[in-house]
Symmetry: C2
Subunit: 338 residues, 2 copies
């Protein structure tokens, strides 16, 4: 068990899952649950999916800004800042919303969703939380001189190049990994939670990477930490925690209960997967682990504390229970040092 | 494990939980997981909370219609039909929205929520999915001549009377049960899943109850099956399944992964609690159990099948996985017959 939800004196609901902390030498620092079981990392791998955009020279060739690079790593809220940012980026490429293969969905940000409804407008593919990632794929395709058509297909050169980076950064076996379709229509490669955390530990310690990769990773991380609003949005976990970290941490959550962090100064990667896919529990578990392993910067710790333990309130706004971490002691077979 | 979510070839997420089927003689028909562990039934007990409204004579004294009785049992979507229905009922009592102690929340029905936003209006307490239950409590208070003030407090005569009915119908020990605060601000009494299912089995076989209770239960059940739109709303599980059952079944779901059914012809009660509180899984598990235990009415089976196994689609609308039951064999220690 990782997280529990109380109401009055009882534990009302329980979230099981796996969690792992690794260092950039690929040593297990702490582990809970099935850290070697394949999972789909979903949007948590967006920082890695953005690496080829920089590494290939595409970002420089197309004047991709640091903000746009942050959008390429984003699960954004579909707020005006995100939608207009991706739209302008596509326009610079001579492309538009029709070139995106992701589907439309209502903005994740409730205010943006309400504004859209209030204007009588429908969401477009630009509102898809992954639209920045797709703009990145299109930029890479343009730079490599490969057809943009079918850029989301698993056999397309873009996705094959992305798989290569994912394999190199995480140690996952791209040749034999299970591939499925992510929510935005592009392939998602299964990997273990430990492999996913390893990737984040290398974001946190890029010196271990070859020079070209290291420079690309630094630029991606700097984009994310410099533009936290662009990687998520108003009130969203990744934005608030990464912003509070002021360059010391970045986090990236994914659908179905995935949440990851790179502790940039410490060379540590953390990955959480909630068995049942619960977002609320993934945020609590990741925040609790970050409190344990990050440096004692008061602002960051304060922000993490607000996510690690949250009140459950009734519709009158009265506190009636708690959402809180409930980690067992780390599995000793999975813990080299603490 | 009760329910799994697949993506491509992998199981991406898993929902554990408990489920139980009992007959009206309180015999266990089938059980999975911790059926004797206390849980909060949340809104699943609304049919029982409505019984004193009828049994006391309050419903007759205040001309409570069958539709209003269905609203008293509802977790409604805050659609116009619900909001206007509760408002008219309160007006007949000489009361208004200010007398409700539940808090406001955005309508559960997405179209109703969008319409509200588009009009620039804010949700009121009438939009609270429990507003009909609260109108029932106020009607009962008026009839019993007790103060309406504080009708949601655990020591108020209304709640004490409701606890008594809950204890009698489910066998739960109201004296020693853990009491907490439900989402709408009124008390919620913990009970085991088996006790909850027992209550539903008695909805399904009211002949076992004393005459006055039996008549009240019949009237509540008839209200729910005659007005399925009023117990939930457009597209909602309880509405669609109860409507498809055409008098043979009723269902009532509650927050944090609770879902219950009364198989009215068969004298069976079913209760499900998903450990992690997942609504999606509660609906799948209950629908799967109902398919197994209901009569082979084609329309009902068709509706249950659409809930028991559902496609997971990406934002383009393409199927990418499944949400489906994954029950282990029933626990033999918890299964008297199958």
């Amino acid at each position: 068990m990782l997280v529990e939800v109380t109401r009055g004196e009882l534990v009302e609901s329980r979230h099981r899952g796996a969690a792992v902390v690794v260092d950039s030498a690929d040593r297990l620092v702490a582990g809970w649950g099935g850290v070697d079981t394949p999972i789909f990392p979903r949007s948590a791998v967006k920082p890695f999916q953005a690496v080829p955009l920089v590494e290939s020279g595409a970002a420089d060739a197309f004047d991709v800004t640091s903000r746009e690079l942050a959008l390429a790593c984003a699960s954004h809220g579909g707020e005006a800042v995100h939608v207009l940012g991706v739209e302008a980026w596509l326009r610079r490429l001579g492309l538009n919303v029709e070139h995106l293969v992701c589907g439309p969905h209502s903005p994740l940000d409730p205010v943006a969703a309400g504004d859209l409804l209030a204007r009588g407008d429908r969401p477009t593919r630009l509102h898809n939380n992954c639209s920045g990632k797709h703009a990145g794929f299109l930029t890479l395709a343009r730079h490599l001189g490969v057809p943009a058509d079918g850029y989301g297909d698993p056999g397309h050169p873009i996705q094959r190049r992305v798989f290569g980076v994912l394999a190199e950064m995480t140690g996952a076996d791209a040749e034999h990994a299970v591939i499925a379709v992510d929510g935005c229509g592009v392939p998602v490669m299964a990997m273990s939670l430990r492999e996913l955390a390893r990737g984040f530990s290398l974001l946190a310690d890029p010196d271990r990477l070859p020079a070209l990769r290291s420079a690309a990773v630094r630029r991606v991380c700097e984009a994310m930490t410099s533009h936290p609003l662009d990687i998520g949005g108003t009130g969203r976990f990744d934005t608030l925690v990464t912003e509070a970290g002021r360059g010391a941490v970045l986090t990236k959550c994914g659908a179905e209960g995935v949440a990851c962090a790179a502790l940039l100064g410490l060379g540590l990667g953390i990955a959480v997967k909630i068995d049942d896919g619960g977002k609320r529990a993934a945020e609590v578990a990741l925040a609790a682990l970050m409190v344990r392993f990050t440096s004692p910067d008061p602002r960051l710790r304060q922000m993490l504390a607000t996510f690690a333990t949250r009140e459950v309130r009734d519709t009158r706004g009265q506190p009636v229970g708690m959402l809180r971490p409930a980690f067992a002691r780390p599995d000793p077979r999975r813990t080299l040092r603490l």
